[in-house]
């Protein structure tokens, strides 16, 4: 009799009650889980971005060197002055060249890894691509400075092979050439290419991995030659990965201020301009305006990519 009246479940503890609450109102759990990252994203990340944007609409008083907290487009007008526009153009060109070269270089590597590498070779691939990311960025850049220096191993190798004239001819090319590789745009380009290449290979490989083998067979079955299969099937399906990779290489190059300072001619890139303007020069508004440029370039880039159908396969 008394047994029949006893509750079917033992009394519930606080943990139990909490589980019950989550079960009845799933959004409570969701809100609890999402709140910290959303706060972080909203306040710290977007907040500082907005603050930055805001600063770029201030200007600096030319005589006192003080920031005038009034909204104006004066700073942006200054950005378009030839000396500043040059910095932007130089950086964007370098970013485009680095992106293009890494795409071309990464594709065969990513393709091999995705289609053919199995087991041990796949592990070797990941190790080979990731290993350079594990050592300090500064160490790598300084190492490259030594490699590319006039007395460095590249010069030595070219001379050893009797191709010293070839190297000199390349260095004699106006604009991209220079006194040595380590003091020319070409050197900057090579180091950028080396440092960012993994960021292109990995997303490319991931997107190629998702292309089923039967898709390629279907193309061939329908009469396509290998080149046609590449152009009409592989490339479009790999495009989201190429775009993802190029977002990395492009934006990382746009924002970097260390590589061009260590390897290259002494002309400024956007990152260096921001660095000196907000530091020694104390021109926060112009620094902010410079910092907005890569964001705008990336937005335009993504819009164009979307227009060209790069995301159709998503």
């Amino acid at each position: 009799m008394s047994a029949a009246l006893e509750p079917a479940h033992p009394p519930r503890g606080p943990g139990d009650r909490l589980t019950g609450l989550f079960w009845r109102r799933p959004w409570v759990l969701l809100a609890l889980l999402l709140a910290p990252p959303l706060l972080w994203l909203g306040v710290v990340y977007v907040g500082s971005l907005v603050a930055l944007l805001w600063q770029s609409f201030y200007s600096i008083d030319e005589f006192s060197g003080m920031v005038v907290p009034e909204l104006t487009l004066k700073t942006y007008a200054e950005l378009l002055r030839p000396s500043n526009a040059d910095v932007i153009l130089r950086t964007a060109t370098m970013a485009a060249a680095v992106t293009l070269a890494s795409a071309v270089l990464a594709f065969p590597i990513a393709y091999y890894a995705a289609r053919y590498a199995k087991g041990r070779w796949k592990a070797a691939f990941y190790l080979g691509v990731m290993l350079p990311l594990w050592s300090s960025y500064l160490v790598k850049v300084y190492a490259w400075k030594l490699i590319l220096a006039k007395e460095g191993i590249v010069t030595w190798a070219f001379e050893g092979l009797g191709a010293g004239n070839l190297l000199n001819a390349v260095l004699a090319i106006p604009v991209i050439g220079g006194n040595s590789l380590s003091t020319s745009y070409m050197g900057t380009f090579l180091v950028f290419l080396y440092v960012w290449l993994p960021f292109m290979i990995l997303p490319m490989q991931a997107s190629l991995e998702r292309v089923p083998a039967t898709m390629l067979e279907a193309s061939s079955d329908l009469g396509a030659r290998p080149g046609q299969t590449f152009r009409h099937v592989i490339l479009p399906l790999a495009m989201p990965g190429v775009i993802a990779g190029s977002i990395f290489t492009f934006s990382l190059t746009l924002g970097d201020y260390i590589i061009p300072q260590i390897v290259g001619s002494s002309r400024l890139f956007i990152g260096q301009a921001v660095y000196t303007l907000q530091g020694t020069a104390g021109n926060i508004p112009l620094a902010a305006a410079f910092a907005v440029v890569p964001i705008l370039i990336m937005l335009v880039y993504l819009a164009v990519a979307r227009r060209l159908g790069a995301f159709d396969a998503l």
Partner: protein, 333 residues
Amino acid sequence: MIAAVDFTHVSRQFGSGAAAVRAVDDVSLAIAEGEFFAMLGPSGSGKTTCLRLISGFESPNEGTIRIFGQDMGAVPPNRRHVNTVFQDYALFPHMTVRDNVAYGLMVRGMDRRTRLARAEEMLALVHLPEFGGRKPGQLSGGQRQRVALARALVNEPRVLLLDEPLGALDLKLREAMQDELKSLQKRLGITFVFVTHDQGEALSMADRVAVFSRGKIVQTGSPAEVYERPATRFVADFVGSSNVLSPEQSARLGGPARWTSLRPEAIRLAGEGTPGTVTALRYLGAGTRVAVALEAGLDLGVLLPAGAPVPAPGEAVRLTWERSAMHAMEGEE
């Protein structure tokens, strides 16, 4: 007459040494032009590999493959007049349905207007005239299957290969597609090579069936031949789950002293005949399958038509059949 597809002692082996698998083992066959040819066999019996040998995605280790008399030894897949409907359809996800269908014409350099018009015709043929502008991701399984069919047929192949094309469809749709494929094949007169593990599908659609087991063809013949006169125990069991009797069992039941097949639907329950006990019942809708343990220590499957009285498990029954229903098989296996 030259065969559409001709295999002469073809073998295809994967791996080497102890781990070697002979996926296709000394297969010879000739598929006539305009024929609906089914390759039937359990999973892993080498059907897909056979199909891939025809389309050119595999090449034989031994033997020769001819398509309309031409040796395919050095001909890559894209230069064979053969098209495939893939098991997973393999539609290009980034192209519209129309562009998918027109793909084969595009890579051959046909201008855009003409090829899209041809694609529309093909989509009408497979009853999808309004769907050209969609992406494959927006179609149901059955619709994707039709698109894959249209994409292959637009190239006017002389041989169409279909690898379990209906496997992913539900029963109702599968039956509708079976009828449709069959009538399409008759209308277009193209040679169809159809791979399936479903014996009902093979028997109902094909002009001729080849039964595969472990990389070998164990019997080739019309559906009626394969069903009524199975060559081996394997065929008898795989095609229509026949009762297979050993020579001794057959002799004891009044049949020939050979391996013998006795179809379940040829056996009746009657007042007299061989006695046995009902051990299990399986209701099939259109009939009931009854397992009967004979006193001779042997189980026989009996198929009772719908409406016939069904005995209860444990009940004692008597079985009769025509002696001519006992078909002696040649093969040992």
